[in-house]
C-alpha cells in the first residue's frame, strides 16, 4: 500500500498509508481463493464475512461489501487500520502459506472508506423491543456492544466520562494512524442507528451502576484499562516525565500539537525517551518526532523480536528514524536544579534462560550503567483497569488485578443484569479483542432480556 514519505510525514499528523484506489482494491481482491471453509473468518474476533465481502469487491460492488461488513463490525474503518491482522485473519489465510496473505485489513479499510465517501444508507432496523440498555464507556467494547444491540431493536444509551466518544480511539491512537474524522463518522453512524451518547457523564460519580439498573434492563461495563502504570524508580515525578496516556491525551484528544491555537500545552522535547515497546510506545515515540524531537528513543528491556507492537508500526517507526535501545532498562531519572528531567540512567541487559512466559529473561550486566540525555520521558509500560466502577459497585466481583470478573463465554459479571468486557475485564489488550468482547456481551444481553434459548441466537 502506498504511504507518505518518511521525510515528509514526520512534519505532519496526517495518515501514513494512503489506502487503495478502486483498481488496486479489485486487484488485491482477485488474490482471494474464496475458500469453502474460510479459515480467515476464524481468525477474526468479530466474525467479519471476509470471503463474501472480498467477492463483492472483486465485482466492484463496494457499497454492498461495506454493508455486509458493517452488519458484523460497527467500526470497519478503525479495525481495517489498527488490527494486528498478521496475528488474526491474515495469519489464517491459505495464500499466506506460500505467498503474501490476502491484505484483508487493507481491503476492509478500502470498503469502509469507500462507503463513507459515497454516503451509506442506514440499514432497516427491526421493530423496537422496548428494552433499554446502558453502556458504560464509549471505547471499542462499548461502541460494538451498543451497535449490535441497536441493530437488534433495543434502545441503547452510552455513558462516556470524557467530552468525546471513542475511548482509546480518540485519546490514545494518534491521528497519523487513525484519523479522528473517521472515528467520529463511525460513531455518528451508531447515533443514526438510534444509539444515544451521553458525554461528560462519569458512571460511579454521576450515577452508580445500581442506579442505572433501576432504569435499564441491563448494563454493559466497558470502562477500559485507563490507569497508567508508572515505574517504581527515583525521579518518576520529575517535570516533563509523562505517562503515555497523558502525553497522547494532550496531543490527540486535546490537539496539543496545534498549541497555541488549541489551548492544551505539551512539552516539545528535543530528546525524548520512551520507555516500553508496545503500540502505545511506538505511538508516543512517533508523536514526539512530529512535535519536533531531534532524537526520539525507544528504551526496551528485551530484544527486537519480543517487541509487543504491531510489525507495521515498528517498521514505520524505523522509517521515521526512531532510535531503538534494546536490552536496556532505566534505573533512575535524573533532574536539573528546577526539577526538570535531564537524563535517564540505564542498565544494559543480556538475554538469559526463558522465564515463565517463555520469553528469554533479561539479566542486567554489572557495571553497564550509562546515561541517555533527554528533556522528556514518556512511560509506556502498560495500564491497569480503571478503578472507578469497581470502587463504586460494592457487590461486583473484582480480581486481584482490579479487573471485573466475567464469564468469557457470556460476558456476565457476578452481578445480575450487569455485563462487562474489553480491558476492564481482561486488563490492557487490543482494540479488536475489546470489540469481540462487546459483541459477545451484546449476544448474551439480547438472549437474557428477550428470554431466547441458546440455539436461536446463532444467526445473530
Amino acid at each position: 500500500m502506498p504511504t507518505q514519505n518518511p521525510e515528509d510525514r514526520i512534519d505532519n499528523f496526517s495518515e501514513v498509508p494512503y489506502g487503495y484506489n478502486e483498481a488496486e482494491a479489485m486487484l488485491e481482491a482477485q488474490r482471494c481463493l474464496q475458500c469453502k471453509n474460510q479459515p480467515c473468518v476464524s481468525g477474526c474476533p468479530v466474525e467479519v464475512p471476509i470471503r463474501d465481502f472480498i467477492a463483492l469487491i472483486r465485482e466492484g460492488k463496494f457499497m454492498e461489501a461495506a454493508s455486509i461488513i458493517k452488519a458484523k463490525n460497527s467500526l470497519p474503518a478503525v479495525t481495517g487500520r489498527v488490527c494486528p491482522q498478521e496475528l488474526q485473519c491474515e495469519a489464517k489465510c491459505v495464500m499466506g502459506r506460500r505467498y503474501q496473505p490476502v491484505a484483508i485489513g487493507n481491503l476492509e479499510r478500502f470498503a469502509a472508506d469507500y462507503a463513507r465517501e459515497e454516503g451509506e444508507k442506514i440499514p432497516e432496523l427491526p421493530k423496537s423491543t422496548g428494552k433499554k440498555i446502558a453502556v458504560v464507556g464509549a471505547g471499542p467494547a462499548g461502541l460494538t456492544c451498543a451497535g449490535d444491540l441497536a441493530l437488534l431493536g433495543h434502545k441503547v444509551t452510552i455513558f462516556e466520562a470524557l467530552h468525546k466518544p471513542g475511548g482509546v480511539l480518540v485519546y490514545g491512537i494518534p491521528e497519523f494512524r487513525l484519523p479522528k474524522d473517521m472515528v467520529k463518522y463511525e460513531i455518528d453512524y451508531l447515533i443514526q442507528l438510534g444509539v444515544e451518547v451521553k458525554l461528560n457523564f462519569l458512571v460511579g460519580k454521576n450515577k452508580t451502576v445500581d442506579e442505572l439498573l433501576d432504569e435499564y434492563d441491563a448494563v454493559f461495563v466497558g470502562s477500559g484499562a485507563g490507569a497508567p502504570r508508572l515505574l517504581n524508580i527515583p525521579g518518576i515525578n520529575l517535570v516533563n516525565v509523562y505517562s503515555a496516556n497523558e502525553y497522547l491525551t494532550r496531543v490527540n484528544l486535546l490537539k496539543g500539537y496545534l498549541f497555541p491555537e488549541y489551548k492544551t500545552p505539551v512539552k516539545r522535547g528535543k530528546n525524548v525517551v520512551v520507555i516500553g515497546a508496545g503500540n502505545v510506545a511506538m505511538d508516543s515515540a512517533r508523536t514526539a518526532k512530529r512535535l519536533g524531537a531531534d532524537h526520539s528513543i525507544i528504551v526496551y528491556r528485551r530484544s527486537r523480536k519480543e517487541c509487543p507492537a504491531r510489525v507495521e508500526e515498528v517498521h514505520h517507526a524505523e522509517e521515521e528514524e526512531i532510535e531503538f535501545r534494546f536490552l536496556t532498562n532505566p534505573v533512575r531519572i535524573i533532574g536539573d536544579e528546577l526539577g526538570a528531567v535531564r537524563a535517564v540512567e540505564c542498565l544494559q541487559f543480556e538475554l538469559g534462560e526463558p522465564d515463565e512466559t517463555g520469553r528469554a529473561k533479561p539479566i542486567p550486566i554489572p557495571g553497564s550503567e550509562h546515561l541517555i540525555e533527554c528533556d522528556v520521558v514518556v512511560i509506556s509500560v502498560g495500564n491497569d483497569p480503571n478503578p472507578i466502577i469497581p470502587r463504586t459497585t460494592p457487590d461486583l466481583e473484582i480480581s486481584k488485578w482490579g479487573t471485573i470478573v466475567t464469564d468469557r463465554i457470556t460476558g456476565k459479571t457476578s452481578k445480575e443484569r450487569v455485563y462487562a468486557g474489553g480491558d476492564i475485564a481482561t486488563g490492557a489488550a487490543t482494540v479488536i479483542a475489546a470489540m469481540g468482547a462487546g459483541k459477545v456481551a451484546a449476544k448474551s444481553i439480547h438472549k437474557q432480556i428477550m428470554g431466547i434459548e441458546e440455539t436461536e441466537i446463532e444467526s445473530i
Binding site: 497523558e246 491525551t249 486535546l254
Partner: protein, 286 residues
C-alpha cells in the same frame, strides 16, 4: 452544553462567581469534590472546586480567579452563555465526622473552596474555626458565607487592612497558642489555598502535632484517573490527586515536588495568554 445562569465580578476583573446549570452534578456533589471545565471547542480542561450548589435549581456555583488564558476565557462568559463541557463531581468527597474543634485555614481563593467543607463539618456538630487571610481586605471574598458555619473567624491581611497584619500561618500559630493557654486545641486542621501556604500550614501543625488535611491542586487533564498528570507523592507513594484525593494527610505530602510540578507549563501559559490578549479575548468582550 451547560448554561450560565449567574455571573458576577467579586473583585475587579480578577475574581468572579459563575453559577452553571448542571442538575446531574448538583444532585451528587459533596464538599471536597471538584469539576473539570472545558469552556469551548479547542479550550483546555481545567479543574475547579465548587463553592456552593443548589439541588433544587440544579446549579453549581464556582468562584474563579483570572490567572491565565482559560480562566480569563471563562470570565468572559455571561448569563445565558453556554459552557461546552462540564464534568463532575470528581475526586473523593471530604471525610466528614465529628472531630471536635476543626480549624479551617484558607488563603485567598481557598476561602470559597473551603465553604462546603465548613458547612458539612458544622452540620455534624463540629466547632469550626476559620483562620483566613488574603493580600488585602477586598480579596477576602466569600468570607461572609463561610462565617455562617464558623463559631469564630480570624482574619489577617498582608497589608493589615483587615485583622492581623501578616500571613495565615502566623495567625494559625497565634490561635494554636491562644487555645493552648486555655488547655484547648484543634482536633483537626483543614487547609486549602496556595500550595506554598499549605506547605507552611502543614509545617506548623506538624510542630504542634495536629492532624491536618490539605486539598491539593496539581495540574490535571482528564480528572478521572487515566493519565497521572496530577500525581503527587504522599507518604513516599505515588497517588493520583483526581481519584485518590484531592485531600490528603498534609504531613505526608511532598509539597516541594508539587510546587515544582505546578511550574511545568509556565512558558506555555504565558504564550497562550499573550495570544488570547492579542486576539482581544477571543472575540468576546472582556
Amino acid at each position: 452544553m451547560y448554561e450560565v445562569v449567574r455571573k458576577e465580578w467579586l473583585y475587579g476583573d480578577i475574581i468572579f462567581l459563575i453559577e452553571v446549570k448542571a442538575p446531574q452534578i448538583a444532585k451528587k456533589i459533596r464538599a471536597g469534590n471538584f469539576l473539570v471545565f472545558r469552556a469551548r471547542e479547542g479550550a483546555e480542561r481545567i479543574p475547579i472546586t465548587v463553592a456552593e450548589y443548589d439541588k433544587k435549581k440544579g446549579t453549581v456555583t464556582c468562584i474563579i480567579q483570572v490567572i491565565g488564558k482559560s480562566t480569563k476565557l471563562l470570565g468572559s462568559y455571561e448569563k445565558g452563555d453556554f459552557i461546552q463541557d462540564l464534568v463532575g463531581p470528581l475526586g473523593i468527597a471530604t471525610h466528614i465526622e465529628k472531630y471536635g474543634r476543626v480549624g479551617i485555614v484558607s488563603g485567598g481563593l481557598g476561602i470559597p473552596l473551603a465553604n462546603l467543607v465548613a458547612k458539612e463539618l458544622q452540620e455534624v456538630g463540629n466547632e469550626v474555626i476559620g483562620v483566613v487571610g488574603a493580600r488585602t481586605e477586598d480579596l477576602l471574598v466569600w468570607e461572609e458565607e463561610m462565617s455562617q458555619y464558623c463559631t469564630e473567624m480570624n482574619y489577617c491581611t498582608d497589608d493589615g487592612s483587615r485583622g492581623m497584619k501578616g500571613f495565615t500561618t502566623h495567625l494559625l500559630e497565634q490561635k494554636i497558642q491562644e487555645l493552648a493557654k486555655k488547655g484547648e486545641k484543634f482536633d483537626l486542621v483543614f487547609t486549602v489555598g496556595p500550595t506554598v501556604m499549605m506547605k507552611f500550614v502543614s509545617k506548623i501543625t506538624e510542630k504542634y502535632n495536629i492532624p491536618t488535611v490539605a486539598s491539593l491542586n496539581p495540574i490535571m487533564v482528564d480528572g478521572t484517573g487515566m493519565c497521572g498528570a496530577c500525581r503527587v507523592t504522599v507518604d513516599g507513594k505515588i497517588q493520583f490527586a483526581c481519584v485518590d484525593g484531592p485531600e490528603f494527610d498534609a504531613h505526608k505530602v511532598d509539597f516541594d515536588e508539587l510546587i515544582q510540578r505546578l511550574e511545568q507549563y509556565k512558558k506555555y501559559e504565558i504564550e497562550s495568554l499573550e495570544k488570547y490578549n492579542k486576539e482581544c479575548c477571543g472575540g468576546k468582550k472582556k
